[in-house]
């Protein structure tokens, strides 16, 4: 058997493979050639910076994982390390697997940087996050990248009641970076049958304060912003804009139309749900974004063009609600929010999920966008927020509402503004 030293082995490898300079790779990519670029260094090297749009497979896993990223044996695969030595040796291993077009990058990542080509320093999960979110990151659909998206995302909850409670608990546990909660109500004993954010000792406290304490205990990393005021046409844009997804858990029609219209006008997806006795409805209203090829779906007004006359539809306060029901429905809202934020699966866009817990049936019905819809249709007639009490046939609120933003982390300063 031939005995080779390190240098001889590298020389032999280089004589058997193709090598490109960083500029050659850059040129081919700019010419829109589809090239799989694999970084075979160790994790800490990758974390300090890597070539954009490359995949990370440490050398030890290269042969085991390459097919997941490029099963085609004839497609070009560029592999790189720090200086071009490890990649030359690794290139031969891929040739043994039948890859016919393997290229090692001359000078590796150092050569790429020295050629003044752009590189990316990834945001990374810290050690505590790596452990806390490990059951998420091991899901291929989420991974480190999806978890980092969640950590940077902002979700607004309309109401910290039956639906808002489970949704907030799970979104906080999932590591959503900022959770905003609009609720000017205080905790009442009759809330505790279903509003699991709050406990006995919270009775009489503002719900947003109670919520902030509960969420901090579940995940201290989450920033909770409380708004102790009703959402109105005056403050809706200011509060909602800046959030990535809105979850509706309100208990009245004017708020539902207001939040729908504001989300449509701001282009923010709305996860809408409602409950009544034993039944629940959940759907997602995704506004269209032609610039980023988001087709969008129907909105609340496509489904329900007009509200029912006042008194026609009884409320939960009048008719009752099974306490566990909002637990299920609010949790489904949290799942839909996470899917929208991370970008996996099929959110309930254009589909209405009907849940009847009395016979435990779950059905989805198709909802079409109404091209005549006054808000999201082809020729919208409602282009600014209106008086929603009047729209719903209720006496108009006449009070002026000053937007009050309360950071509930330790501050209990905001005053309750009555609707």
């Amino acid at each position: 058997m031939t005995r080779l030293n390190r240098d001889q082995l590298v020389q032999l490898a280089k004589s058997q493979i193709t090598e490109w300079t960083p500029h050659q790779l850059d040129g081919r990519r700019k010419a829109k050639e589809a090239i799989t670029v694999v970084d075979i260094r160790e994790r800490d090297e990758w974390m300090q910076g890597h070539i954009p749009q490359s995949v990370f497979i440490p050398r030890g896993f290269l042969e085991l994982q390459i097919e997941q990223h490029q099963p085609d044996r004839d497609a070009p695969v560029v592999i790189y390390c720090a200086g071009g030595v490890r990649s030359a040796l690794a290139a031969r291993n891929l040739q043994e697997m039948g890859y016919t077009n393997v290229i090692s990058l001359i000078g590796g990542f150092n050569g790429w940087k020295n050629a003044s080509l752009g590189f990316k320093v990834p945001k990374v999960l810290n050690e505590e996050q790596r452990i806390r979110y490990s059951r998420h990151t091991m899901l291929q659909e989420i991974g480190d990248e999806g978890q980092l998206k969640l950590l940077e995302s902002k979700v607004l909850l309309i109401g910290a009641g039956g639906l808002g409670s489970p949704a907030a608990l799970y979104l906080a546990a999932a590591g959503v970076g900022q959770i905003g909660i609009i609720d000017y109500d205080t905790v009442d004993v009759s809330n505790l049958q279903r509003q699991v954010l709050h406990g006995q000792s919270d009775v009489g406290r503002y719900k947003v304060d109670s919520a902030a304490d509960t969420l901090a205990e579940i995940n201290p990393e989450v920033k909770v912003i409380g708004y102790k005021e009703p959402i109105t046409s005056h403050n809706a844009f200011e509060i909602i804009s800046g959030y990535d997804v809105v979850l509706n858990g309100s208990d009245n029609f004017p708020t539902r139309y207001l939040v729908n219209d504001a989300c449509q006008m701001l282009g923010i997806p709305l996860v809408d749900a409602s409950i009544f006795m034993f039944e629940g409805q959940v759907t997602v209203y995704q506004p269209k974004h032609p610039e980023s090829a988001v087709e969008g779906g129907p909105c609340y007004r496509c489904l329900y063009p007009d509200p029912p006359p006042p008194g026609e539809v009884p409320s939960c306060a009048e008719a009752g609600v099974l306490g566990v029901l909002p637990g299920i429905v609010g949790s489904i809202q949290a799942i839909e929010a996470i899917k929208l934020l991370v970008g996996f699966g099929e959110p309930l866009i254009g589909r209405l999920l009907m849940i009847d817990t009395s016979d435990m049936t779950f059905r989805t019905l198709k909802v079409n966008r109404n091209t005549e819809c006054p808000v999201c249709g082809d020729h919208p007639t409602v282009t600014e927020l209106i008086d929603y009490d009047q729209f719903c046939g209720l006496p108009s609120s006449t009070h002026a509402v000053e937007p009050v933003e309360a950071n509930v982390n330790g501050h209990h300063a905001a005053e309750k503004v009555l609707a």
Binding site: G159, P308, M354, L365
Partner: protein, 91 residues
């Protein structure tokens, strides 16, 4: 026989039943028949101008009947007719 899914607010008309089996040629005829069995039932659904109230949706299987033929939408054996009213509860 089509199966009609009755939403909670209308179950006070149907003696608490959530599903009713009935045969009819169209959705309109179906509601008429149900109103015969359960007086007041169709009054809760219809707008009096030949349509369904705008805060209520009626689906034949997966599809809303406004996208089909409204109350003239035909129904056949094994079809599921769902009545879906707006609900506001969340707290």
């Amino acid at each position: 026989m089509a199966t009609v899914y009755v939403p909670t607010p209308l179950r006070r008309f149907t003696g608490g039943q959530s599903k009713i089996v009935e045969s009819a040629a169209t959705v309109g005829e179906l509601f008429q028949k149900l109103d015969g069995h359960y007086p007041g039932f169709s009054g809760k659904l219809l707008d009096g101008e030949g349509g369904v109230k705008r805060f209520i949706n009626v689906f034949r299987n997966d599809d809303e009947i406004r996208a089909l033929d409204g109350l003239a939408t035909t129904i056949s054996e094994d079809d599921k007719v769902s009545i879906v009213p707006a609900m506001a509860g969340g707290k």
